[in-house]
Subunit: 359 residues, 2 copies
């Protein structure tokens, strides 16, 4: 039940896809599946043997020539077999792929892994490890946006000088802390009072509301406030500034990518690994997936990021009660086992969502 992949085949990606007849499609599918398995260009002889259809290599060659004209396959050189192009993968993934859901036992095992975990960050971390562990690719998890988190309590503690440590507790036990600079020094008692004022004022509201209030309403009621209040709100503003940009990226299993010879160039790997530590570019890319419904796939250069040229990205959102919390997925070579990866990503997102919901 839970693990049925909600995969929508006919969502075309780069405009319209080439029209191919049934037999050609059959061969394309066979070719890509074979290529994904072996990583070797596939020749006409192999293909004529492989497919159920009883056709001679010569016939297959004719079909392949057609597929090549359509830009779905290409040959590395004259006397090698054919290899799928990005467009070929696209067609494969959009309309040829047969997704079989994960075994219920596997799902149960994954679910159990989540069950023993308490903290949100630990859950996300587990999800990322799970993705990379199961697929043997790199797993990525974009942390939930905190927009919708519920303000719960704020604590202000004096440090040396004009520095104040602010601790913001949201939702079910998320702690954000930050050091802010104030224009004057406050006594511990003053800070306690400010904390109390703010906590009372905002408890139970979500952060978006709080932020809006701080930015807009504060202007209007400006004159009517006493000094204490004003200072408290100014500090709150500083704190919220940071809570905004807290969304971050968890990556695991990077080193799995070293196993694939299509990525084996050190230069490639280096830029890829740098991207994983910089996180910025990957975050941008994942941000673009946040609106999509269901599993989304970027193949090769479709992402627009040169460093992912020989890679594919399979993502989906995870959500609680309809609200999108974040994006997770895997990054691997274009030649990855989509048939398996897609349901894994799908299920992981569902399980993560279910686990998060309990909090």
């Amino acid at each position: 039940m839970a693990q049925r992949a909600n995969w929508q085949p006919p969502r075309s990606h780069t405009g319209s896809e080439p029209q191919i007849n049934e037999r050609a499609a059959h061969f394309l599918k066979a070719l890509i599946e074979r290529y994904i398995r072996d990583g070797q260009p596939v020749g006409s002889r192999t293909l004529s043997r492989d497919t159920g259809l009883d056709l001679s290599p010569a016939t297959v060659r004719n079909v392949m020539a057609d597929l090549e004209d359509m830009g779905l396959v290409s040959s590395p050189h004259t006397s090698a077999g054919r290899v799928p192009t990005v467009l070929g993968y696209r067609v494969f993934v959009d309309s040829l792929l047969t997704i079989s859901p994960l075994e219920e036992v596997d799902v149960a095992q994954l679910r159990a892994e989540f069950a023993s975990i308490d903290e949100v960050t630990a859950l996300l971390d587990t999800a990322s490890r799970m993705l990379s562990g199961v697929t043997q690719l790199a797993g990525v998890v974009m942390l939930p946006r905190h927009e919708r988190d519920v303000f719960r309590q704020i604590e202000l503690l004096p440090l040396t000088g004009t520095r104040v440590l602010a601790i913001l507790v949201t939702g079910e036990g998320e702690v954000h802390n930050r050091i802010i600079h104030t224009d004057k020094t406050y006594s511990p008692a003053q800070l306690v009072e400010a904390s109390n004022v703010l906590t009372e004022m905002f408890t139970g509201k979500d952060l978006r509301t709080v932020r809006r209030y701080l930015l807009e309403d504060i202007q209007q009621t400006y004159e009517r406030m006493d000094a204490m209040m004003l200072h408290a709100l100014q500090m709150a503003q500083r704190v919220m500034e940071c809570a905004e940009h807290k969304d971050d990226l968890l990556v695991s299993g990077q080193t799995n990518l070293m196993e694939f010879d299509e990525l084996a160039s050190l230069e490639r790997l280096k830029s890829l690994f740098n991207a994983f530590t910089e996180k910025r570019e990957i975050l941008h890319l994942l941000d673009r997936c946040i609106e999509a419904d269901g599993v989304q796939i970027f193949i090769g250069n479709e992402s627009g990021y040169e460093l992912l040229d020989d890679c594919s990205l399979v993502t989906t959102t995870y959500r609680v009660e309809g609200e999108v919390l974040g994006v997770l997925g895997v990054i691997g070579p274009t030649r990855m086992n989509y048939q398996r990866v897609i349901p894994v990503v799908d299920v992981t997102a569902r399980l993560l969502a279910a686990a998060l919901k309990q909090h």
Copy 2:
């Protein structure tokens, strides 16, 4: 002043080092310096040209044969030049190396980088990036142990069920938070009271003292306590359990290591990178450096960790007021520029210590 390297040459590492005469030492030094520069085996012709001494290649060859007998150099094959062995590097590093302190302008620049930073973790992160940036190797920073941190405040917040969010503030604005499970549910008011009791009880004491109290004294005064108190202390125990093992590792610039051909094998890199993400082994190794005074160096297999076989580790401790806080350093290929790396590690540790002292 601050940047004078406190490098103690005659600290022998693996027992006694071979006795070599002055001329041989001179050649060994020249050979290693050359090899570090070019990465190519060094031949007798080159060496006779390079060194100030006016000796023919033939003479150099005799000396090299001696050095080879002593196990200080080796030749990859008959007709290649010589390459330093681990033992050769050891001698070089222990007694041949001339350390020149960093330029004052460079030091000032690094100092400035630290100056603008507030939070402790950010400082450590900067140190790590600094190390990798300046040396073009991988920088590692072991986080300070929290043993000596001062207990400042504890906050207990109820979550769903019997879960309680504990927030512990130590020193100047370090926040540790953890979810603990209790045996029964507490009302918010009860938790507030417990927080107050604990905060009053422990504020100003260092964590080690607090922990000792929790483990020992608690037994003795057991009967005389009221229920509230007992519960509070039990929770405190749980919290302290975690604060102990919080010491962690920051790594940056891993990808720099991909540039070195001696590490270019994917297998090697993979195990190295895994070690960086696992952190466990590296932490163990750094732990062993914590007692040493001044810069410490592990060359090749000296570390005992197979995965560092072709690597060297240059570390030093950073301390505030005599108290060792942690260890930092760089990891790079055995063929690294020790002459430059050693002062960089040394200075970074001093600057970091100075920056930390301000808190």
